[in-house]
């Protein structure tokens, strides 16, 4: 491309950078690697079960059909009812987790950013270290704890768990945002007659909205995609979230692959849309803290 864009009148030709071409070929390979599985998922989801189970496969569906989607989204059919139920459960759990997460993480992050109380560093790293612990370490005791609290098979068990496991990252992220807000702004507000809380609420909070958005996307996606705890804590069908639900649902008899692919597709839509719309915040959340500018 660099050759084309060089005006022919110019004498000196721009040297072709071989690394640039290596990079392009590599990106093409990665793109194929990334997209093909997703493409095949979509193609399969618009085939009938009969068309999907053929060898050699139909590369392109001979008779594309939206039958699988219609079935999943039909509120009157039994399949549709169940699927929509799971969908709603996932949405409910993720939403509540996200909102509660912000409410708890914001004051904590603010404290970590502003105050120098004894044990602050210790607290902070203990918060951070949680990232390292495998979920199975918590699975058994939490399962017993939830049983003891009577929370098994309730969404409360999931919300409480997700909330905690999302907190370290949320706090870490938000702290980064608060750190960037000059303390003088709060001081000014307090002199202008605001209490500490008002200074925080009227001045700091609005300025940290991007951070709160970033944190929220993260908790939402994390909760939406979570499988292990949902798989362990929920056994009643009508409380299941999507990741667990579709598994039980489509593998009960011989697997209905096109139906499963359609369900997988629908399950991915909310998070992918959320990600695409708020990509900037998501990327920032992902890299904050690890990369210092």
């Amino acid at each position: 491309m660099s050759m084309v864009s060089t005006a022919p009148s110019r004498r000196r030709r721009v040297k072709i950078d071989p690394w640039r071409w290596v990079g392009r070929i590599f990106l093409l390979f990665l793109l194929t690697f990334t997209v093909l599985p997703m493409l095949w998922m979509v193609l399969t989801s618009i085939k009938s079960q009969f068309a999907a189970m053929q060898y050699p496969p139909q590369w392109w569906p001979a008779e594309p059909t939206l039958q699988n989607y219609a079935k999943l989204l039909d509120p009157n059919g039994s399949t549709g009812q169940e699927f929509l139920r799971y969908f709603w459960n996932s949405f409910y759990v993720s939403m509540v987790t996200t909102i509660l997460g912000v409410i708890v993480a914001v004051p904590a992050a603010y404290a970590f950013s502003r105050f120098t109380f004894p044990g602050r560093t210790f607290l902070f790293f203990s918060v951070l270290l949680r990232n390292m612990f495998p979920s199975v370490v918590f699975l058994m005791p939490l399962f017993l704890l939830m049983r003891w609290m009577g929370l098994v098979n309730t969404h409360g068990s999931l919300i409480l768990t997700y909330l905690t496991f999302g907190l370290p990252l949320s706090i870490w992220l938000l702290k980064g945002f608060f750190d960037n807000i000059p303390i003088q702004l709060e001081q000014a507000a307090r002199i202008d007659g605001a209490t500490r809380f008002q200074a925080f609420f009227f001045i700091v909070m609005p300025l940290s909205t991007p951070g709160i958005i970033a944190t929220s996307i993260f908790s939402f996606i994390g909760a939406w995609n979570e499988y292990v705890y949902a798989y362990t804590f929920l056994s009643k069908q009508d409380s299941m979230t999507l990741p667990v639900g579709i598994q039980r649902f489509f593998t009960e008899f011989a697997t209905d692959w096109p139906g499963l692919m359609a369900a997988t597709f629908l399950m991915s839509v909310p998070v992918v849309v959320l990600f695409l719309v708020l990509q900037k915040y998501f990327v920032r959340a992902l890299t904050e803290g690890a990369v210092k500018h």
């Binding site: 003088q184 702004l185 001081q187 307090r190 002199i191 007659g193 001045i203």
Partner: protein, 365 residues
């Protein structure tokens, strides 16, 4: 407006005393400049007065109230910050209105007060802009406006002009002074630019290392510095200080240098010198009180020119003398060169003597 009293205030960070036992009284309507080198505790002192930091010890009184345990919002003060601290997400209007909203004034009242302040500061046309769309000088005005809308008892200002360019700074300096005169406001003004302090303040508080060194009118601080730190900090260029040895020459005192020359002191100065705790005495002289001769004269001591710095109206000459550097100001027409031998004459009436051990100024017994 009100009087402000600091009583032995102390602020400690770990083992560091950022402010150490500072006491001073700012009278009603006075403009006090708090000066000192970077890190000496100026901002900390101001923040303690404002109540933004918990105090380690001491009391702060504003008016007749002891405000030591009050929140900033209850102290009835306004503050202008070094970097202005304008709320970036609010328009200029909202920035000015915020302190009034916090005090639950009605919309109409807020509007009148904001417009009044905006008119005084000539920022009416900027009211709908966000802070980042303003120039430094405009931001500074808005910051001042935010302090002004409320008519508080005391204004605290933390280097409000330090972010401006030189020309704007001079202009704003005049405006601030004018504003103080019109309002008869009590102002505590932090700066490390002593020219600002000298030109604007009724009184000057010189700080160093957390301690208050001297608190007096700029004239007195300039003419009678209490110790070597103040002497060398106030005045530009700084006072020249020459460490010498006192010797008794039959009742009178002469100061002797390691280079061999002696400077006999006048009667009055001899008396002062005798109060010293040691024979080490530091001689201080401001550039304008020194006379430079190109040939030897009586009462003058020899030195060698180090550099010549013409500034336009005056030429500053640095002279090596008695193991120290002395700055002399000359008329630009006088022609001197580096490494030239010169003779310096001291004005006995206007020289300063400091105790070589305690660094305190020597005064009449």
């Amino acid at each position: 407006m009100a009087q402000v009293v600091l009583k032995e205030i102390v602020k400690q960070y770990g083992s560091l005393y950022a402010v150490n036992n500072v006491s001073l009284t700012v009278e009603d309507g006075e403009f006090v400049a708090l000066v000192g080198p970077s890190g000496c505790g100026k901002t900390t002192t101001l923040n303690l007065v404002a109540g933004l930091l918990p105090m380690t010890g001491g009391d702060v009184l504003i008016g007749d109230r002891n405000v030591t345990d009050l929140d900033p919002k209850d102290r009835d003060i306004a503050m202008v910050f070094q970097n202005y601290a304008l709320y970036p997400n609010k328009t200029v209007y909202k920035n000015l209105a915020f302190p009034l909203q916090m005090r639950k004034l009605s919309k109409a009242e807020i509007d009148t007060k904001v417009m009044d302040a905006a008119k005084v500061l000539d920022i009416v046309h900027l009211l709908q802009r966000k802070p980042r769309e303003l120039s430094g000088g405009q931001q500074q005005r808005v910051a001042l406006g935010r302090a002004l809308v409320r008519d508080p008892q005391v204004f605290l200002m933390d280097e409000p002009l330090s972010n401006l360019d030189a020309k704007l700074r001079v202009q704003m300096r005049t405006e601030l002074k004018r504003f103080h005169q019109d309002l008869k406001a009590t102002v505590i003004y932090v700066t490390h630019d002593q020219l600002e302090a000298v030109t604007m303040a009724d009184k000057m508080a010189v700080m160093s290392g957390g301690f208050l060194q001297q608190y007096d009118s700029p004239k007195n601080v300039f003419e009678h510095p209490v110790n070597m730190f103040v002497a060398s900090f106030v005045g530009s260029p700084a006072m020249s200080l020459i460490p010498l040895e006192a010797i008794n020459t039959g009742g009178k005192i002469a100061l002797s240098s390691s280079e061999g020359w002696q400077l006999p002191l006048s009667e009055a100065n001899s008396k002062k010198a005798q109060t010293a705790s040691t024979s080490k005495i530091v001689l201080g002289a401001r550039h304008s009180t020194l006379q430079l001769h190109k040939s030897k004269e009586s009462n003058s001591v020899p030195g060698r020119v180090y550099t010549v710095e013409p500034t336009g109206d005056v030429t500053f000459v640095q002279v090596f003398l008695g193991g120290a550097t002395v700055i002399v100001s000359l008329d630009p027409s006088v022609d001197v060169k580096s490494d030239q031998e010169v003779w310096i004459e001291f004005d006995q009436e206007r020289l300063h003597l400091f105790d070589g051990e305690t660094e305190m100024a020597l005064t009449d017994p």
